[in-house]
Symmetry: C2
Subunit: 437 residues, 2 copies
């Protein structure tokens, strides 16, 4: 029987996982699809690098454009990552009438609208379940399962590296640098961990989810993004004493016709489900009007989970090819023409509770100065702790606030910074007490 | 623009929820689909009963066959429940070329293969996300997201009523009867709670999930089914002392080419995620070879969640109608012709640890007799507790066993029952320590 022919761009960790699924699961996949799947063309960056054997007859190339221009290829799988040339490859593949499956969150966060439009115009299929939270079916939940509902909020832990580091900082009371080193040794963090620990990878993912959940184009630069590099063991211990766990949270919320989009460390009540998602796990919670809160948890990265998600999309599309339905659905929950741009809500409009850690000299009057600056800007304090006394050494003063406006807090913290009182920059962590936050 | 025309069979709690979504979300749904959705024909059991207003122009009938025979109806939504006439209505609708969306787990557990085959032959679409765990996208996870993976196990808490009752028994130390009464007062349990508390509803759902996960027809009578009615507060308290929580677990496992399918109360280590899913929530954990364990949690019942799931399927199908792809996909993960019947694994072949509670007279020699019967059948005891002493009154002796074969334990318990030693039938609860259990 005529196979469905696959082209693969990128043969790193995920590409090797794709190869493994095709090798181990071939007959089962052929039975599910109704025709065999055959990997016929593979593009790699370095032709001389040692790599797992390719299937018999597969062509290897150093030029990914050969794959998207190969007239025999039915479905292109892109697992190379990055914006360019991934975007150009996607555009070319789609223009050539090929279906496109990608794990590339950066591509979709930055160029998603162009991709969705091109896919819809070309009448091909787009698979991108692997772009967010591996094989955890968050894309299908938003696009299909909740297609009749009104999503109010999507939030989650969508970066396994960051969550692993925070879990180690919490469980072993080590510093960020120590936890990062451990993560790198285990292969959970890359040599350059910036995308993960600065929250950028999480921001990519929440931008994709928001675009889907709220049927709006998302301007990626409008996503407020703050990483976990400044958190100290002290912050995490103090959070625990107040009943919170610290997580790198990605939040997309619909508020007053605006979209609130942000990634930052958050203190979450320890009793909440999402506060207990630890190690390399991802969790995405979707709150919609009729269904309430749904939570999806699983491994969000790694060769197996990502390849499972990629190949799930491939099988899904291949079945549609066999049945004649391929390209006869929208890539998003609604046709591109029905998408309306919702304005971004600035972080300054956020109203929440805050954890503040000041590093100040241990002398009378300091507290009054801090409290004064906060009070003048309408920030009211719910708890305060000062631990230890060290004469001539700065000490930590930790305050929790009642609900306050971020813009007001910014002003208060600027006053405090200008006063020269603090020996170090003040640490601020947003507290997420509400289920809708 | 020409609407997509819906027929609705059943206008109870879920039917009213469907009506509410159409009313509240109409313009958004029309934008997503590309054409408006219009409810044109509704069948109810009792024409005289008071009910929410129908959309203008909708016909009301007491005969559901009128809906499936209405040539204007594009999609039939069946939320009446039960096997008959739901099966006949489904068959007729499908034969008439209509797409079919159902929340009816009993129908699919008992007659699923016939339904899947008829749908595939007719080239129409089947939506049944609502049949298991409400809007939690377990059907899409198994059918689509994990379509390239090999599912090894699916297990979960899929009955909100049972979970609510167990949660109250755990938190408030009330009896089953008291917790049931509370659930009934809150509308979480029906007047006749048999399907829920005897595990039958859970068995329906796990049969559907197994048929999908393992691409096998399932003989519903082969699902081992045991409810929660015999559990006592003492069992739940003892479980807690040993570090377990008691849940009504539905398990579908692939073992040695067989399918192990069962529903029973289970003691689960309190640290496991699923042990902490409480109240009316459902959770389904899917373990597959490449992706590992994915867990999906949400409200599994009620008007809003079920109607959201039903209408999600409707929108999904309506989009396909507009784009010309409707009916061009398989109802299950594989074509019916590719489905192979896997043999059922009998419960007697189960190997696990057990909690046993004997009710015996408090006199010397009794323990030796119990231990003797267990030992003769190869059952070894890991812990034993006897609480209190009441002369001339039977007392509880609780034992935990090491891993044992269910068939051996059956023999030992039969010997003990025949000895006339026990004042009441012995309580046995299976312990699920392994992630794969």
């Amino acid at each position: 029987m005529e196979p469905i022919r696959l082209g693969l761009i990128g043969f790193g960790v995920v590409g090797a996982g794709v190869g493994a699924i095709l090798r181990n699961n071939g007959p089962a996949l052929a039975a599910r699809v109704g025709r065999p799947l055959s990997l016929i063309h593979v593009a790699v960056r370095d032709l001389n690098k040692k790599r797992p054997a390719l299937p018999e007859g597969a062509r290897l190339t150093g030029d990914p454009f050969e794959v998207v221009n190969d007239p025999s290829v039915d479905i292109v799988i892109e697992v190379m990552g990055g914006e360019s040339p991934a975007f150009e490859l996607c555009s070319k593949a789609v223009a050539n009438g090929k279906h496109f499956v990608t794990a590339n969150k950066l591509l979709l966060a930055l160029r998603g609208e162009e991709v969705y439009r091109a896919v819809e115009v070309a009448g091909v299929e787009l698979g991108f379940e692997a772009a967010v939270a591996g094989a955890v079916p968050v894309i299908r939940a938003l696009r299909d399962a909740l297609a009749a509902d009104q999503v109010e909020q999507t939030r989650g832990i969508v970066n396994g590296t960051g969550n692993y580091i925070l879990s180690r900082m919490t469980d072993e009371r080590v510093t960020f640098a120590e936890a990062l080193k451990g993560a790198q040794e285990l292969g959970y963090a890359e040599a350059d961990p910036t995308l993960d620990v600065e929250g950028i990878d999480s921001a990519h993912k929440i931008a994709i989810l928001a675009a889907l959940a709220f049927e709006t184009p998302v301007d990626f630069s409008a996503v407020y993004t703050e990483g976990i590099t400044r958190l100290t063991p002290e912050d995490i211990i103090m959070a625990g004493e107040f009943g919170y766990r610290v997580k790198l949270l990605a939040i997309a919320r619909r508020v007053d016709g605006q979209v609130d989009l942000r990634v930052h460390p958050a203190m979450i009540p320890a009793r909440q489900f999402i506060a207990n998602v630890n190690g390399p796990f991802n969790a995405v919670e979707i709150t919609s009007r009729a269904a309430g809160a749904n939570m999806l948890v699983g491994r969000g990265a790694g060769s197996g989970p990502t390849a499972s998600a990629v190949m799930g999309d491939v099988v899904d599309i291949a079945r549609n090819i066999v049945k004649g339905g391929a390209g006869k659905r929208y890539p998003m929950s609604a046709p591109v023409a029905a998408r309306r741009r919702l304005p971004a809500r600035p972080i300054s409009a956020l109203v929440t509770e805050y954890y503040l850690r000041f590093t100040v000299p241990d002398r009378p009057g300091v507290l009054a100065e801090l409290a004064g600056a906060l009070g003048r800007n309408g920030i009211s304090i719910s708890s305060m702790i000062q631990r230890g006394r060290q004469e001539n050494e700065p000490v930590s003063v930790v305050m929790l606030t009642h609900k306050a406006r971020e813009a007001d807090l910014d002003k208060a913290l600027a006053e405090i910074a200008n006063s020269g009182l603090c020996a170090q920059p003040t640490m601020r962590v947003r507290i997420v007490n509400d289920e809708r936050a």
